[in-house]
Symmetry: C2
């Protein structure tokens, strides 16, 4: 169950051509989110920072873009058979929302212990929720089985060209709206947003260094970037729940090796401080995963003083009480 | 100490001409804040809602606009003598920030029991803080005395044409960015934002009904609007700390009577629900005062189903822990 194993590595030419169509497609359905600046943030980091506020995207995260790009390409017959996804986070909400908009039934495989707010959001979008059993088959295996049995389309969270190209449209908009950037900081979990952003930079802003920002407890991508092979992490404990993914995929890793300049890591304490900073100073409600890039700047993990720096704020879906309690700890 | 007593009521022609210059002046220094939409909000209200996100304004509230418009008009000699303001809220931060940018010393008269976060923000902008004694002279009297003794300029929170015209620039931008609106909902405290917005509508969107939204516990403006004379309220207990102003001024009341369609009120419970809704669904960190317009829609106080409705989100300066605790109560 890997895109590359099934289809091979897509060529850069194919991806480039596909990206043009992706941009048209995504811009017709997604919000063009604003670019937010803060003089206080500039003063604290010594850089000129441009925040791409994907927390203001539909369903509250960039994930809408990739899901729309993939699902909107399905035929009428495929849409009628439906889509399935496994995720306890923003990808689940994105697939549920896009499926509803396009009139496709959606099945989301989620753990029964997922936060109630996330279960409720997916249910509100009209998706069927399938709980998986931790002791039985894994969630990916269950999703694959559902796809086969129901004849519906599996929408993976990152391991697909249309997903990562869709995610890359946020960076493309930022390059247009903020002008020339020296660097772009992007959160990294499974690498869909990072690889898509790196491709967008390759085509639209070739002098911009794209840098991944990862939680220290789940540093598989940073280690993979250094070792040259896919490293994994098991159930990392971090407040950045959007970046707990066990590993990159062959596809995202190949693109990240080719087009990303560096991957830095941030511990949870500076990550929470950066999250609170964004809430209080920019008035953007950002989830901790979405604050990874700003945390990398504020903590010094990425030293970009004197530079023009873009940062993708990936999302804003938080459990308010839990995050405010974590601020106090 | 009233603008009208000292200068008379300015004519509409004067205000109109002054507004053109105000727009140029304010747009050179303030953020053009984004207009945010939410399909969930549209579904809940039955209206098509356009949020003018002034919580993303510099220092976190629309107050920057009026302060900049007034202080940037001072001569070099006046700037050197400095400015003084009395406020425990966003106006204090606005005057302190604008004064620093323009190189003017600022004195802010604040109660010693003001929230520490607000005292810290004003001090961070380099202003001198003067505590007033609740048992001695009032804060207005103290500010007037400071202005006289130091020869500096008093910057009132709303009772001045340049202040309210500056505040009106947010509505002007919204009319340009959102297209034709049937109604505009605006929080009301001293009436600077409401009267400025109503003037902007009068000149730029004459078919748009401008409606004030006020906390039920501090409903002096709504009562004044109905009785035809300025009513007051004493130290109202409401979570909307930006709208605890004891009364409108002669100037703002005259403009509100002439150009505002209605003033509605919202109790604290629906106001807190609307605040939380905005945080969770639009990812905008909004202070309760800033949620008054959305609360008026969600609670049914303003029934604008089927209409295109603008809402000014006035600010986002909150004490996080206090508001989250209030959510739970």
């Amino acid at each position: 169950m890997s895109y590359v194993a099934d289809h091979g590595v897509p060529t850069l030419e194919y991806l480039h051509e596909r990206f043009a169509d992706t941009r048209t497609r995504v811009s017709a359905a997604a919000h063009r989110t604003p670019v937010v600046t803060s003089r206080t943030l500039d003063a604290r980091t010594g850089a000129q920072v441009f925040l791409k506020a994907e927390n203001l995207q539909r369903m509250g995260a960039f994930k809408f873009r990739g899901a729309w790009n993939m699902i909107s390409r399905l035929s009428r017959a495929e849409l009628a058979r439906g889509v399935v996804a496994y995720s306890s986070g923003n990808h689940a909400q994105a697939v549920a929302l896009v499926a509803r908009e396009l009139g496709a039934p959606a099945t989301i495989v989620m753990p029964s212990f997922a936060p109630r707010a996330k279960l409720a959001a997916v249910a509100e979008y009209g998706a069927e929720i399938l709980h998986y059993d931790l002791l039985g088959e894994g969630r990916d295996a269950l999703a694959v089985r559902v796809a086969r049995e129901r004849g519906c389309t599996l929408v993976p969270p990152f391991d697909h060209p249309d997903i990562l190209l869709g995610q890359g449209t946020a960076a493309a908009e930022l390059f247009e709206d903020a002008g020339a950037l020296d660097a772009l900081l992007v959160p990294v979990g499974g690498g869909g947003l990072l690889s898509g952003s790196a491709l967008a930079a390759h085509w639209l802003a070739p002098t911009c260094r794209v840098i991944g920002a990862e939680p220290a407890a789940g540093d598989d991508a940073a280690r993979s970037f250094r070792s040259g092979r896919i490293e994994t992490v098991k159930d990392p404990q971090t407040i950045a729940d959007g970046a707990r993914t066990p590993s990159l995929s062959e596809l995202t890793f190949a693109l990240i090796r080719a087009h990303v300049a560096d991957i830095v890591t941030v511990a949870d304490a500076p990550l929470l401080a950066a999250t609170r900073f964004l809430w209080e100073r920019t008035k953007l409600l950002v989830e901790p995963t979405g604050a990874l890039g700003v945390a990398a700047l504020l903590s010094g993990a990425a030293d970009l003083r004197g530079k023009r720096v873009g940062v993708v704020i990936s999302g804003g879906n938080v459990d308010l009480e839990a995050v405010v309690a974590a601020f106090a700890s």
